[in-house]
């Protein structure tokens, strides 16, 4: 039969079902009548003739049913009718249905939200044409901290130019770099997220302008830059979507630039989660480019037919020549050798780059956690539906007796579950939109808002569908299976008061064991993350945290000559120190625990190594409450012309000076551009503090007087201590500086908030795993409650007999609790084993405790026991109060 005919008959089956049915009826009835006619002709009375004809025909309804099955589209038709029937059954039991749907929606929603975040951060391609053939060029294994390193800076600009001119791998290459700078002047000064791009950037990416034009090779010229393009978001918010043709000019990063175009709305820049505001061309400065400043990322489009692997091999071959041509000056022979040994590799760059990918492990773990919560929820649902299947035994028995096939019963119950799963999934997607926003908000900080487009793309839909199908199979199969095996005779005999056999209960007990095991895993995980977070939050970094305000003051717009910079910085510090509320203030070149770092190579006697270096003003140690345990601190007598002195920390002493008295020893730094080799005398030792973050152990650290800094810039970073709120102090200091030096850029941050913001991943894991741990515990409690209640209900008679024979309520409670204890014990053993395996991967995320921490395990087990006890208390009480007379009267 050809397709057209099939479709026609399919359509008639589906849309003219009633017509077809009556036609079939008419045809079969005609058959019987004709046979009756024949029989009547042979001499029988009409009624007898019709009776015999009907008998000869056989089972009339069955014949009709078989005919229907022969029609085209029969399966679709039954599916539809089954779905409608399932919907009717679900509507008949609104309480159970809404509980089931809500549970599923929350479970699926949580899973989807985490997956959406993963999808947005990790899996989604850059919004450019053909992202799959984009590749990034990097140094294999990184540059080991060589030279100066900027965020997302993988290569130097001289290297980029070499690569651009000599590579044979890409059909087009481009470089980009990101930084936060200032736009505007005076009081209108704002930070912007800048994207500096090589001339080919937009062409190679294949982007079309939304308005005006994008940057082109001719824009990459001598500094200063004169043209820029803005992102759609920035154009809308900061430029109010003004027409570019009127000529919009901005002072961006001190250069007057004309905005010539707007990038497409879906182009967020190259960093997922971090939208760029203004894109500027990389310009050629008057002096030669620095060869030790790693500030650009280099990408390209692979030539047709080239794989990333082949490109990597080719770049490795080209590497010696490229690095040879770009050796940075003023470096020791070892550093030069290390530099020349660098090798370039290519990586796929279809998804761009993102600092959020540090959350990778956390997100995958969270996805696992939400998956397990969903599993527990499924076990609860399965138990709920199993109980309901038992209640429906007589209905099912009647349908079986009326000729419904067992496979049809199975399909029918599975269809009800599928319907629940489908509705749950649909609602789950809606919930995920909300949860996803909460998640993004949770990982955003004031200084670093996360801008992610949480789209429901095909990957998310595929994920939701698979999760829904999986949950449906998980919670729907067991009830459907049991219904299918209903013995109509037994079910009808017991008159709807079906009692469960032992095997029935054991299936439910199996579910409870599963729930307990999974809950234990989740509780252990939650406790681990909460304790790890607590360890970090209460960790003493060795310096003052609260009451400290960090100030950043920039005076490059103030027309102050370079030789006055040091003095002006001191004047600014004095302004701040005399602000009301300020107890003390000091300037520094490095804000501790902020992630930034400054290091020099050094030599002490024959010993060589590296140490962190920070230039600070005399009051730094008292402001930060860092004790000086030996020697002296810095004073105003340590000036630019006095002998060079340094303070070192305990770790420094242990590393370099273990045998000798540190005071009076000298150290020599290795030469670097702008930092000539210098000899310092150690005049004091301070206690150990954390350096760039809380997690890493204290490195050797040296402090040098700010006045002796060889290379001061037109800015100052201050640490301000006060006993009033940091916001008040910041406002007062800001006002004071604005009054006296209106050209100075002043920004203030709360030190402690910044430290806590750096623990955002830990906070995320602690709150979310804690939340899901509580949820798992709650679901398990409900699960235990349900099963024990069910058991008590089905064993009422037995309990009644026991009590009639003299058992007291304690014996009865013991009988009930014994069941629970077996399940609990089994669940705990399995769960503890699973937790040992599962938490091994989380070790990297934990601080101050091991993943197999015995205390955590013990606490989680104790908690779970409480949960199980709480869940079985009410049903046990109910069992204890069974009235034997009432219970036995049913028999």
């Amino acid at each position: 039969m050809n397709l057209l005919e099939y479709l026609r008959s399919l359509a008639s089956t589906l849309f003219h079902r009633a017509d077809l049915d009556s036609e079939l009826d008419e045809e079969l009835r005609a058959h019987i009548q004709q046979q009756a006619d024949d029989l009547q002709r042979s001499g029988l009375p009409r009624s007898e003739a019709e009776r015999r004809a009907r008998i000869a025909f056989g089972a009339y309804e069955k014949a009709k049913e078989t005919c229907r099955e022969e029609r085209a589209g029969f399966r679709l038709e039954t599916l539809w009718s089954e779905a409608r029937f399932a919907a009717r059954m679900l509507r008949k039991n609104p309480g159970l249905t809404s509980v089931a749907i809500l549970t599923l929606a929350l479970g699926i929603g949580a899973n989807t939200a985490i997956f959406q975040l993963l999808d947005a951060v990790r899996l989604r391609a850059l919004p450019v044409p053909n992202p799959q053939n984009l590749a990034e060029v990097r140094i294999a294994g990184g540059n080991h901290g060589f030279g100066l390193n900027q965020d997302h800076g993988e290569l130097t600009r001289p290297l980029w130019e070499e690569i651009r001119d000599k590579q044979q791998v890409f059909s087009g290459t481009f470089a980009w770099s990101v930084n936060q700078r200032y736009v505007g002047t005076g009081a209108d000064l704002r930070r912007f997220k800048g994207l500096w791009v090589s001339g080919d950037f937009f062409q190679v990416l294949g982007l079309q302008p939304w308005r005006g034009r994008l940057l082109a090779p001719q824009d990459e010229a001598a500094c200063p830059v004169t043209h820029a393009v803005v992102s759609y978001g920035y154009w809308q918010s900061a430029l109010s979507g003004r027409d570019l043709r009127v000529g919009i000019k901005l002072v961006a990063n001190n250069d007057l630039v004309e905005i010539v175009g707007v990038t497409p709305p879906n182009f967020f820049g190259m960093i997922v989660g971090d939208n760029s505001d203004i894109a500027l061309p990389l310009c050629q400065p008057n002096e030669p480019l620095r060869r030790d400043l790693f500030d650009v990322t280099v990408m390209g489009r692979l030539k047709p037919g080239w794989s990333v692997k082949r490109a990597s091999a080719q770049m490795a071959v080209l590497s010696p020549e490229l690095f040879e041509a770009t050796v940075p000056p003023d470096r020791g022979p070892e550093a030069v050798k290390m530099y020349k040994d660098f090798r370039l590799v290519a990586y796929p760059a279809d998804t761009g780059v993102s600092p959020l990918r540090e959350y990778d492990l956390s997100l995958w773990l969270l996805l696992g956690i939400t998956g397990l919560v969903l599993l527990i929820a499924c076990a609860n649902l399965a138990n709920l539906l199993l109980a309901r299947t038992n209640a429906r035994q007589s209905e099912i028995a009647v349908r079986l007796a009326l000729g419904a096939s067992r496979s049809r019963i199975f399909r029918q119950l599975l269809m009800e579950s599928a319907l629940l799963a489908a509705i749950g999934a649909a609602l789950g997607i809606a919930i995920a939109q909300f949860l996803g926003r909460v998640l993004v908000w949770e990982i955003s900080t004031e200084g670093n808002p996360v801008n992610l487009k949480m789209a429901t793309d095909w990957r998310v839909l595929l994920f939701v569908t698979s999760v829904a199908v999986l949950t449906c199979i998980l919670f729907g199969t067991a009830p459907a299976w049991r219904a299918m095996r209903t013995d109509p005779l037994a079910a009808m005999k017991s008159g709807g008061r079906a009692t469960a056999g032992r095997d029935r209960l054991s299936l439910q007990q199996f579910m409870v064991v599963t729930q307990i095991a999974i809950s234990l895993v989740l509780l252990i995980g939650a406790l681990l993350f909460v304790r790890s977070f607590r360890n970090l939050m209460t960790f003493d970094p060795g310096m003052r945290e609260s009451g400290i305000t960090t100030a950043f003051l920039g005076f490059w717009q103030s027309n102050i000559p370079k030789e006055r910079w040091a003095d002006f910085r001191r004047e600014l510090l004095e302004e701040v120190q005399s602000t009301p509320g300020v107890i003390s203030a000091a300037s520094t070149t490095n804000v501790p625990l902020s992630g930034s770092s400054w290091e020099h190579g050094l030599q002490i006697g024959s010993e060589r190594g590296t140490s962190k270096f920070t230039w600070v003003s005399p009051d730094y140690f008292s402001t930060m409450a860092i004790p000086i345990i030996k020697g002296r601190g810095f004073t105003r007598e340590d000036t630019a012309s006095s002998p060079r002195v340094a303070l070192v920390n305990n770790t420094f002493v242990r590393r370099f000076l273990s045998s000798a008295n540190p005071i009076g020893q000298t150290l020599r730094t290795e030469a670097e551009p702008d930092y000539p080799s210098t000899v310092f005398e150690i005049v004091g030792v301070i206690a150990d503090t954390r350096y760039s973050d809380l997690r890493n152990p204290t490195p050797p650290m040296a402090f040098v007087p700010m006045a002796q800094s060889p290379n001061p810039g037109p800015w100052a970073t201050l640490m301000i201590y006060s006993n009033i709120s940091t916001a008040t102090v910041a406002a007062a200091a800001k006002l004071r500086i604005a009054e006296r030096h209106p050209d100075v850029i002043a920004e203030f941050f709360d030190f402690q908030t910044a430290i806590h913001d750096s623990l955002i991943e830990e906070r995320l894991m602690a709150t979310l795993s804690g939340f899901f741990g509580v949820l798992a515990g709650l679901l398990t409690m409900i699960g235990v409650y349900g099963v024990i209640s069910y058991m008590v209900a089905t064993r009422r008679n037995e309990i009644g007999i026991r009590m009639a024979l003299g058992a007291d309520s304690w014996n009865v409670v013991a009988v009930v609790l014994r069941q629970m204890t077996i399940a609990l014990g089994l669940g705990i053993v399995i769960g503890a084993f699973l937790a040992l395996v599962a938490t091994r991967g989380a070790g990297a995320l934990l601080y101050g405790l091991q993943p197999n921490d015995p205390l955590t395990f013990a606490a989680a087990i104790a908690l779970l026991m409480l949960i199980a006890l709480a869940g079985s208390l009410i049903p046990a009480r109910r069992a204890a109060t069974v009235d034997p007379i009432v219970a036995l009267r049913y028999e």
Partner: protein, 113 residues
């Protein structure tokens, strides 16, 4: 009943096609025709006839239309389509080959083996 043979699976369709090839018939007529041409040797379960008719219509081997029977009853008449006629020829050939082969196989004497 010993004189009546059970139908082999799949042979009902062939019998229906054959019966209808002799002229358009309604369901009851097909039943009678098969009894008649098999001289009452083949027993057809009446309820099984209609699903087979539906199947053959769906396969495009038969086409059906409503008409009036000899004793003035409305009935659905079936007739062969060209595809049905072709199928009947093929099935008939196949059946004959099978019967010949089975006959010679079952009629074999010990010395021919």
């Amino acid at each position: 009943m010993s004189t009546q043979a059970e139908l082999l699976p799949g042979t009902l369709d062939l019998l229906i096609l054959k019966a209808v090839s002799l002229g358009s018939l309604h369901g009851y007529g097909i039943l009678l025709r098969i009894e008649q041409i098999s001289r009452g040797a083949l027993l057809i379960e009446q309820g099984a006839l209609y699903p087979a008719l539906f199947r053959l219509v769906r396969q495009g081997l038969l086409q059906a239309s409503w008409g009036t029977s000899d004793n003035n009853r409305r009935a659905k008449y079936y007739e062969l389509t060209s595809a049905g006629r072709k199928r009947l020829r093929e099935e008939q050939d196949g059946w004959n080959r099978l019967v010949t082969a089975m006959g010679s196989a079952l009629g074999a004497k010990p010395e021919e083996a």
